[in-house]
């Protein structure tokens, strides 16, 4: 057993040598050591791996900074951890935060450095106009500056199973464009037993409330969906279109032409395994279905109600953006490193690679133009649906999203109340009124702490 001993001895010697060198060179080595930049993300799977890869590529390109991209749990857990780290005085430099968390971050003015400000302080050129307009509107201020940098952008679309359509005698090249058409198609699918469930949805609140609002240019609340001020009140329950949508789901649930399959992305498996013939879903699911769905499927824009005036409008952005944390001990050099890494992430080659690899939408106009000119969307018509609904759809006063604190919680109020309605324990109207009442209580509490902060 000489090997381990030798190895240990060698390791000890190497360690001692390293320590001696460090002592001898002292301050000089500290200067040569790259500056650490921490980035936390909430992505798993392909998206997460790709983002980690960009960090490594950036490190190979230069030796002043060392970026570490790490997964710290799903967005809510990651956010709680980052906030705890902020309170302890050592938050990550960059944090990826999902759409619904944006309002909370915007309310924490002292905790973040707006991205436009980061680039300005670093002396790097930054034009918010480089980002696609919907994302710019979602994450920006009225003066056009950006608070966070849009990165993984998605929107809601309808995926449908062409094989099930054929089996039900429906035209597989004519997906339903409106909700009444979808309802009819789903009922036909059930009646001819082409699938066990006609239609399901992921991300209930995001799609059936937020995206639904944008698609019909209907406000969720007053003060331009919360952009005008923290005193915004939610008003969606008094809008008959939102009520009608929930009522439609309740009616369809009865004959399984709609089947509720759970919150967040839970329903996705039931489309992927052929159980449900249609699903409203994030465009980000494209990659998974391309790889795993064993049937012919298509993508269509999110349906709308033709009787709502002016509909359809564009959908709104989802996904996540990158936030830069503020902390008392942050140096100018670190800020420069953060700016340079963000600059790398938004560069056209990275954006193109990101869109092609993960199925997320390109966040910058240049990347979108490049992919269009290259013929990527002509060759991949399924990938073209999401970006064209988002960017080329009609823009209205309420298509640009919302800005509310505690929105993750408010989404869950909506989930809970609609679940109760689907269980038959309350009406569609009651569900929305309860969600709205609880949501407004949370908004008032948020307003109180936010006003106390600023």
């Amino acid at each position: 057993m000489t090997m381990p001993t030798q190895l240990t001895r060698r390791a000890v010697a190497a360690g001692a040598l390293a320590a001696a060198v460090a002592l001898a060179t002292g301050g000089a080595s500290a200067q040569n050591r790259p500056i650490e930049i921490q980035m936390w993300m909430g992505l798993t799977g392909l998206g997460g791996e790709t983002l980690v890869k960009y960090g490594e590529e950036f490190n190979r390109m230069q030796n002043e900074y060392k970026v570490t991209v790490s997964f710290k749990g799903q967005y809510p857990e990651q956010r709680a951890a980052a906030i705890a780290a902020f309170r302890a005085g050592n938050p990550p430099h960059i944090m990826q935060m999902f759409d619904a968390g944006s309002g909370d971050m915007m309310g924490a003015k002292n905790a973040i450095v707006p991205v436009s400000e980061v680039f300005k302080r670093a002396g790097l050129a930054f034009n918010p106009g480089d980002f696609i307009a919907p994302a710019r509107g979602y994450y920006g201020l009225k003066d056009g500056s950006l608070l966070s940098m849009p990165f993984n952008v998605s929107t809601a679309v309808l995926f449908y199973n062409k094989d099930a359509f054929k089996k039900a005698g429906l035209d597989p090249n004519k997906p339903p464009a409106t909700w009444p058409e979808l309802q009819k198609a789903a009922q036909t699918i059930r009646a001819r037993n082409a699938a066990n469930c006609g239609f399901t949805t992921t991300w209930l609140a995001w799609i059936q409330l937020e995206q639904f609002g944008a698609r019909h240019n209907l406000p969720l609340g007053t003060q331009s969906n919360g952009r005008g001020g923290l005193d915004s009140e939610l008003t969606f329950a008094s809008n008959p279109a939102f009520v009608k949508q929930v009522q439609m789901l309740i009616d369809m649930q009865k004959d399984k032409s709609f089947d509720y399959k759970g919150r967040s992305n839970d329903a996705s498996a039931s489309f992927q395994n052929g159980e449900c013939a249609m699903i409203t879903q994030s465009s980000g699911a494209m990659g998974a279905y391309t790889r795993d769905a064993k049937f012919d499927w298509g993508v269509a824009p999110l349906p709308y109600w033709p009787d709502v005036k002016g509909a359809p409008y564009a959908t709104t952005v989802g996904g996540a953006s990158l936030w830069v944390f503020n902390a008392p001990n942050r140096t100018q050099a670190e800020l420069l490193g953060v700016a340079k890494f963000l600059d790398y992430l938004r560069s056209t080659p990275v954006m193109i690679d990101w869109a092609k690899t993960t199925g997320f939408l390109p966040a910058t106009n240049a990347a979108f133009k490049y992919l269009t000119d290259e013929g990527y969307y002509a060759q991949n018509p399924r990938a073209a649906v999401a970006i064209s609904t988002l960017v080329n759809g009609k823009q209205g006063e309420h298509t640009g999203g919302y800005r509310y604190g505690r929105w993750t919680e408010i989404r869950d109020f909506y989930h809970e109340e609609v679940e109760k309605a689907l269980q038959g324990r309350q009406t569609a109207k009651e569900a929305l009124e309860n969600a709205q009442r609880r949501g407004n209580a949370a908004l008032r509490a948020f307003e109180k702490t936010a006003v106390a902060t600023n």
Partner: protein, 293 residues
């Protein structure tokens, strides 16, 4: 001359206790102290505005109908988990006691689930009962049962109760088995000689003599259902649908981590802390005295 090692008898006990005390202080007392401190403060998540509000958070929590509903739900959940974990465990223990050949094998099999982490146990059950891909859900559908724990609150509750109870059966089994082995043979033999049936012997001798063990396990199981089922619930239902499986400990997590409502979440933790202190006190006062080792 005798060689004797003399320790400084004042210092040594403390030195030996120090590691355990340090762990307890850092991982139990410190967070508990912080919870108490934060329960009387109102603050934004980033800690930029912190105000002392006294018992306001407690008042709000206790006046919240959702909290009260969650409390009753937790009682129901705990009672069901305790019963479903105790009864089969007792049956298994009685059976395993009678087995002569391969006793070690059966016992090992019965103890195995205890070694599985709660979240893993949760995922296991979630997978079997998942409406889209689960094998048991598939059977239930064949039988004509409209099984959907994602929408039906009763289905969801049944699922988390089953998963939580299943994981605790092993623990109860071990204690019941030990309890059975400590019952004096002479009593059982005497009863046999008097012609008592197995059933009669169980109810008049075994069960009463097991009562200290049963009572101890009841308290332990309730504590388990109250506090240690977080992983299972998080993995299986995340407290849904429509709060149908949101027990107190899950609500603490949700309000703290998802809603970032630190004051309310801390106040709820303190209430839970009070409950566990009471349960422990009951256990020490009424159980420890009566258990014969």
């Amino acid at each position: 001359m005798q060689r004797r090692v003399v320790f400084n008898d004042k210092l040594l006990p403390y030195l030996l206790l120090a590691p355990q005390l340090a762990v307890t202080l850092v991982f139990f007392f410190w967070p508990a102290g912080q919870a108490i401190q934060m329960s009387v403060l109102s603050q934004d998540p980033f800690g930029q505005s912190v105000t002392f509000v006294g018992l306001e958070n407690f008042r709000e929590v206790l006046a919240d109908p959702d909290y009260v509903a969650s409390f009753w739900r937790t009682l129901f959940f705990s009672a069901m988990v305790a019963v479903l974990a105790l009864v089969p465990a007792l049956v298994f223990a009685v059976m395993a006691e009678r087995v002569i050949r391969g006793a070690g094998f059966y016992r090992t099999i019965l103890v195995l689930p205890y070694a599985i982490a709660p979240a893993v146990a949760g995922v296991l059950w979630l997978f079997m009962f998942s409406p889209s891909v689960g094998i048991v859900a598939y059977w239930l559908k064949k039988l004509g049962v409209d099984w959907n724990p994602k929408l039906d609150g009763t289905d969801a509750m049944a699922l988390v109760i089953l998963a939580a109870a299943w994981k605790q059966i092993s623990y109860n089994f071990l204690f019941f088995l030990a309890g059975l082995q400590s019952i004096p043979r002479a009593l059982l033999e005497a009863a046999s000689i008097d012609g008592a049936s197995e059933w009669k012997k169980f109810w008049t001798i075994t069960f009463p003599l097991l009562s200290p063990t049963t009572f101890f396990l009841l308290v332990v199981n309730i504590v388990y259902a109250f506090f240690d089922t977080f992983g299972i619930i998080d993995a299986v239902t995340s407290g849904g649908p429509a709060k149908a499986t949101e027990v107190l400990v899950y609500k603490v997590y949700y309000d703290g981590v998802h809603a970032l409502n630190l004051g309310s979440s801390s106040a709820q933790s303190v209430i839970l802390m009070a409950i566990v202190i009471v349960l422990t006190a009951i256990q020490f006062r009424y159980v420890e005295r009566k258990v014969h080792y």
